[in-house]
Structures are given as structure tokens and as C-alpha cells.
């Protein structure tokens, strides 16, 4: 439960507006909404502070497997505002959790037929713990068996390729991508008014042991060797003795102990874009943390899910040096910590027994910690 999964940067998207599916995790670009009965309401996509359009910062596919039920269609969207004054205002950030409430197995007239194989693979996954690659195989089989028209075939291929390319080893990744993008070009989303950040995809990595941290700390080398230390300690004789030293916490002029611990975790994996740890502990860079609200629907106290880290800003800034209308220099956050409802409740309109699956969007809470 307390394990931390790090998100490392993967490939850049060829075009920042290109369309992926809602099973991909990515940074920047345009949000990939899954098939919705009601499109996402405009209010949710506008900044609370200035009223302008929000841009997608991160889209994270985060399925859950809990004791009672498992939610496989669960995506978290983090939206932010790029205007100058909104960068430091916590009101201009929005986190949406979009999930499908019911497990619809016998849905017939879904326009995106690719979801059907996903359903069946879900039930397979529940029986035995399978790795992602095996569920991908199931998906592929289903694709070939069902009869679909050409548009859906293209979309299904794209989706399968995304899953396949992400789960294969990195040697095979580029190769797979080349094959896929021959016949099927990535579609672009037709939305020119929303601000778009540079887009890149994410692969996940387990947070491994502390052996890494010691190695990572040793950046920039030192001109001191252990022999010199022994020499210098032998030199002092004349009645000098260092007495009365006690343990001292780390302190520097500009950085306090909490921040130094945060930095130590960052130095272990300097490229981490966000840390995911459902129900785990957040890594706070400052000691005082503002208070959390409770979930608006069920009232339970929110729990930590993931936090965005500063290397993400660095990558986005590097990419947006040329050719961008919008600049993210107003963003000076050190980390954005996202808390979600532990019960994964829906907005309450899902009780009808309709043949269509019902998806709900719930707004969650984010704490923005600024870099002073």
C-alpha cells in the first residue's frame, strides 16, 4: 500500500495536439475524453480565477483494484491555467476524476467497440493476478474476432498499440511505434482554442532502494580523499580537541530540513515527473501544509493519491522555448499534491439501469505548494 511508483518521461508526441486514448498517461497535449453521454461541462474547464480556458497538465490512467470492486476505467485529469497571475493561485488548478461506475458487460451499441474487449479482459484479470501484457493479449484477440468497421478498427489498433508499446521493453518500443504509425496516422484533436502544453508520454517505474540515493548524491565529485582525512586528523595535536559536539540536523542558508529531505528523494530519480502512491504518504517540501477539505459528495476525508514534481515543469519549459503562444513561466510551484476521495464515489446520477455505461466526473482537490 505504501509503495511509490514514479512516472518517468517517455517519448514526445509528434504533434502536441495528437489524440491518444484515455488509457494513456501523458503530460500536456489535449485531454482524451472517453466516450461520454454528456460532454464535459464547460464550467469545469474554465479557470475559477480569470475565467479563461484551462489546459491539460497531466492525464493519468489510474485504475483501482479494491476489495469490493475494481474500477478499471478511472482517469485523473489535472488542469491548470497559464495566465500570468493565475500561476500562483490555487484556485486556478483543477483535478477531475473520471470513472465508469458500472461494469457493463453486455453493452451492444457502443460506438467505440474497442471497449468491449477491455470489459472481457477485466473479468479475466479479476480471476487471477495477471500482468498487463497478458491482458493486452486478450484485447488483441478480441479485436480480431469481433466485426468492426474501419474507423473503429483504426481506433482499436491505436489503442492496442499504445498499450502494447508501453508494456513492451524499451528496445521494442520504437520498433513497434514505427510499425503502427505506417498505416494509421495519429489523429489530431480539432480544438484550436484551448491552450496546449507540449505533450509527452509517461512510463512508470518502481521506486527502488536507497542504494540509488547515495549514488545520486555524489554529483560533482569531491577533491577530498579518505587518506587526506586521516592525515589531517593526525595533524592536530596542540591541545585542540573538538569537544561537545552533538547530532545536528541538516541546515543550509536557504534550505531547511524538510526541503532537504524532499530534494534527497528527487535526487534519487532526477527525472521523475510525478509520484503515485495510492493511500500512501505525500512528500512535503515545507513543514506547514494547508488543511484539506472533505469530499463534497460523500463527506469522507480525502486521501493522497499522487503529486506532480518539478522536473515536469523543466521538461515543459524546455520544449516550449520555440513556437508557443502561451508560456508557463508564471508557474513556480514546487509540487502539486492531489488528494482523492477514498471511496471513489460518483455524483449520484448513476442509479438508472441503462444499457449505456454511465461515467461521472468528480472534482478532486489539489494543494499547490509554491517555491518562494
Amino acid at each position: 500500500m505504501g509503495e511509490v511508483i514514479l512516472a518517468m518521461p517517455g517519448q514526445w508526441a509528434h504533434d502536441y495536439r495528437e489524440k491518444a486514448d484515455h488509457y494513456t498517461s501523458k503530460i500536456g497535449g489535449l485531454p482524451d475524453w472517453p466516450d461520454l453521454d454528456i460532454p464535459v461541462s464547460g464550467k469545469l474547464l474554465l479557470c475559477d480565477f480569470c475565467g479563461g480556458k484551462l489546459c491539460l497538465v497531466a492525464q493519468i490512467y489510474a485504475p483501482l483494484s479494491m476489495a469490493e470492486r475494481s474500477i478499471d476505467e478511472r482517469v485523473i485529469y489535472v488542469l491548470g491555467c497559464m495566465k500570468k497571475d493565475c500561476g500562483s493561485n490555487p484556485q486556478s488548478w483543477r483535478v477531475l476524476r473520471l470513472q465508469r461506475c458500472k461494469q457493463d458487460i453486455e453493452s451492444k451499441d457502443e460506438p467505440l467497440k474497442a471497449e468491449q474487449p477491455e470489459e472481457e479482459s477485466t473479468s479475466v484479470a479479476e480471476d487471477k493476478p495477471t500482468s498487463q501484457s497478458s491482458s493486452v493479449k486478450v484485447c488483441d484477440d478480441e479485436d480480431s474476432d469481433s466485426d468492426i468497421d474501419l474507423d473503429d478498427l483504426a481506433q482499436a489498433l491505436e489503442q492496442a498499440a499504445t498499450l502494447a508499446s508501453n508494456s513492451k521493453k524499451q528496445d521494442g518500443t520504437k520498433h513497434t511505434r514505427k510499425i503502427v504509425e505506417g498505416p494509421v496516422a495519429k489523429k489530431l484533436i480539432d480544438d484550436l482554442t484551448t491552450p496546449v502544453l507540449p505533450c509527452f508520454y509517461i512510463y512508470s517505474q518502481r521506486n527502488s532502494s536507497e542504494g540509488r540515493m547515495d549514488k545520486a548524491n555524489f554529483v560533482g565529485g569531491s577533491s577530498i580523499s579518505l587518506k587526506e582525512i586521516e592525515k589531517s586528523s593526525g595533524n592536530e595535536s596542540e591541545g585542540e580537541s573538538w569537544e561537545g559536539e552533538a547530532y545536528e540536523y541538516d541546515k543550509a542558508l536557504g534550505a531547511d530540513r524538510t526541503y532537504l529531505k524532499f530534494k534527497k528523494q528527487l535526487d534519487a530519480y532526477p527525472e521523475q515527473c510525478f509520484r503515485y502512491s495510492y493511500g500512501g504518504n505525500a512528500l512535503f517540501p515545507v513543514a506547514n501544509v494547508p488543511k484539506l477539505g472533505a469530499c463534497k459528495i460523500c463527506g469522507s476525508a480525502r486521501r493522497f493519491e499522487l503529486q506532480l514534481m518539478p522536473p515536469l515543469l523543466y521538461f515543459l519549459q524546455e520544449a516550449s522555448d520555440d513556437s508557443s503562444n502561451f508560456s508557463i513561466d508564471g508557474w513556480t510551484w514546487l509540487t502539486i499534491i492531489i488528494f482523492t476521495c477514498p471511496k471513489n464515489c460518483c455524483s449520484g446520477t448513476c442509479d438508472e439501469k441503462s444499457s449505456n455505461s454511465c461515467r461521472c466526473i468528480v472534482e478532486e482537490e489539489a494543494i499547490v505548494i509554491q517555491d518562494d
Binding site: 500500500m1 511508483i5 518517468m8 518521461p9 514526445w12 486514448d21 484515455h22 488509457y23 498517461s25 475524453w33 472517453p34 461520454l36 460532454p39 464547460g42 475565467g51 480556458k53 483494484s65 476489495a67 478499471d72 493476478p129 498487463q132 481506433q155 498499450l163 508501453n166 524499451q170 480544438d191 482554442t193 507540449p198 512510463y203 512508470s204 517505474q205 518502481r206 545520486a216 560533482g220 589531517s232 585542540e240 573538538w242 561537545g244 559536539e245 552533538a246 541538516d250 542558508l253 536557504g254 534550505a255 532526477p270 503515485y276 495510492y278 493511500g279 493519491e305 499522487l306 518539478p310 522536473p311 520544449a319 520555440d322 502561451f326 513561466d329 508564471g330 513556480t332 514546487l334 517555491d371
Partner: protein, 277 residues
Amino acid sequence: MAERGDRGGFGRGFGGRGGGEGGRGRGRGERRGGRRGNKSEEEKWVPVTKLGRLVKSNNITSIEQIYLHSLPVKEHQIIDTLLKGLKDEVMKITPVQKQTRAGQRTRFKAFVVVGDGDGHVGLGVKCAKEVATAIRGAIILAKLSVIPVRRGYWGNKIGLPHTVPCKVTGKCGSVTVRMVPAPRGAGIVAARVPKKVLQFAGIEDVFTSSRGSTKTLGNFVKATFDCLMKTYGFLTPDFWTETRFSNSPYQQYTDLLSKPTTKALLPPTEEPLQAEA
């Protein structure tokens, strides 16, 4: 991933765990505008703070710009980039003990001083279970604490400044250290331990006097460092002219980069958002 129960499945979501150690060497691929290719883990610095990003992109070229606006330095790579000739030296490693139920637990405390011999000096103290870890950590903390040292003249203003500009005193614990300007050729008149700090700072001549329990050399060294910090805090008649305030680097570069370009921002229209896949 054999555990069930309440856990998030983010890692399961795409299972890209084939990366591992090799993933990092993969590099970021191409992008328009070109970027540096693969670099090994140790050389590449990914800045965390806004100041780090500005330094990495060479918008800030001198450390004096940081001191002018008193910006806190939170990454030691900033100092590495801006001050190239920084030398470091371990002043002392002492064992520090703590009594536990299972005997004594010994840790090592390292005192490291860094400096370029020309007006910049830093002091770092770190406790760790191993000596090497303590030294490494202390070097990083010392780099984070680099301060500018003001030098002045004793008498005639001939040549370069060589001594402290005025009498200053610093205190830590019970130890107070007082530094008094000295004529050229006097050399650093101080005990062995603070002499090292003053040499790294680039002060050539100074008279010192100390008081308190200077046996606690940790406090002695910190008192000297505190004294050096105060050299720029002392208001002398040279500073009586009106200050001309300039923009902090944060504002300077935000304004520059957020200027509206020729492609104007489109006015917000009421078109419905296309949400279909």
C-alpha cells in the same frame, strides 16, 4: 504485484516496467528545436526550483545577481554552475554518539568549508552513519550556504581590498569572534581553525580576537562564518547614496517570456467543447 486490496493501479495501468535501468539511457527522442541527446545520469541536472531553471538556461550568469536580491539557493548545482573555481576542504570529522538501549550508536559529523579564495565562502555540517556520506552531504550543504564576503582597506586605498572593511563580530553559542582590519602584510592573525575559513574567503590580513568557550570548535567555526556574513550587512558611508532598485530575475524573465507574440491569443468563444473520442 501480487497484493490485492486497496491500492491504486497506476503502475498496472500500462505496466511499462520493462524500462528499469535501461529506460533512463533511452533519452528523450527528437523534438523540434533540437535538444541535447543522451547524457549519463550523473552529469545531467534537472533543476527543481525556478532559480535553478533560470541558471540552467544561462539567464543568470553571475552569482552576484542572486545575492543582490537575496534569493534563497536551494540547489547546489546552481553554485557549481556559477562559481567554477570552488575548492573544498574537510575541517574535521568527529564521531557523535547517542545512547540507545542496545548500546551506543555512533555517527560521524563532518565540517566542510568551501571557497574560491576571492570573496565567496561556505560552511557545511552534516551528520551521517558513514564518513563518506557525511563528507558528501557536508560539501553539498556548504555549497548551499555560500555567502559573499566584503573586503576593504585598512588605510590607503591602493591596490585591491585585502582586509575586512570595518570591525565586525560574530557569535555562535558562547563563542564570539571579532575581526579587526589589519595593514597589508600582517597576515591572518587567528587560531588555526578560523584561519582556514578566512583563507578560503580571500581575506589576506586581519586581526581577530575571540571570547567564550572556543574549545567547542564547531561553534568557533560557525562564529567566524557568522562574522563574515555580517561584512556585507554593515552600513558604511559608501552605501549612503540612494539605491536604484532593479527587477528581480524572476520578474525580469517572466516579463520577457510572457510578452504577447504576434500570434494573438484567441478570444474565448462559446463553442462547445468536442468531447467525443
